[in-house]
Amino acid sequence: MSYDKTFSVEGGNFQAAGNVSSEIKGILKELGLPRDTVRRAAIVCYESEINIVSYAKKGQIVLHADDQSVEIEAKDEGSGIPDIELAMKEGYSTATAQVREMGFGAGMGLSNMKRYADDFFISSEVGVGTYVKMVVFNLDLKLHPDHPQWVDTYT
């Protein structure tokens, strides 16, 4: 099995924020991927979509899914990130007061992406845009009876 699709995301459109992630989650469920893969892919996809909406003019989310893993690439044309290490710190956010008031801008987006993806890559150029790639492996944890504690950690 192999599935590819590209979605466009409009910067500044908070009305539609999350729609692409919902669609991707539906696709992954439909493909019959393990629940934990779908759950983690949905989390990282949502955070990357919200960042495009919050900080870019426009962007794309590219989905690739196969039997081994789900890859999500988020690329945007936007402000870019001057200091990635700082941006990755949980709690750091440049979101406006208005955006925070809505419950965005907790500064947990990039750290959630890193935590819930098995593989996380980010690069950014100020004034140009940002690229994030995340990979979630299709670990079917039920296949690991020797490691029952994993089930607790990941469900």
Binding site: A42, M108, G109
Partner: protein, 111 residues
């Protein structure tokens, strides 16, 4: 315990989604930060929050939450109700503050 029983016990106002109250509630999550709720809430949870804007519907739908419960009588924004109706997410309104709502629901579903 299903949503209908919770609505009755806490005397919640049903903002929308009155036809989806047969859903089983498996637990709950309290929070106003969307990144926190996205990461930590679980399918079948009720989400207790004071956020009323329409992005809460996207979060609830993405996480397959059973319902959103707004506290202290907060009325959802009109486009929130519209979107929630479209996506089949019940929005329930409590007059109690969040602490009481969470406590009462916890007690109901754990006994």
């Amino acid at each position: 315990m299903d949503l209908a029983a919770i609505v009755k016990a806490l005397n919640l106002k049903v903002g929308c989604g009155g036809n989806a109250l047969n859903r089983e509630v498996k637990g709950g999550y309290v929070g106003d930060l969307l990144s926190d709720v996205i990461a930590n809430s679980q399918e079948g949870h009720v989400w207790i929050t004071r956020q009323i804007h329409q992005n809460i519907v996207a979060v609830a739908s993405l996480k397959d939450l059973a319902a959103i419960i707004l506290v202290q009588g907060s009325e959802p924004a009109p486009d929130t109700l519209e979107k929630a109706t479209r996506e089949g997410i019940p929005i329930l309104i409590a007059t109690d503050p969040g602490f009481e709502v969470a406590g009462k629901i916890y007690k109901l579903i754990s006994t």
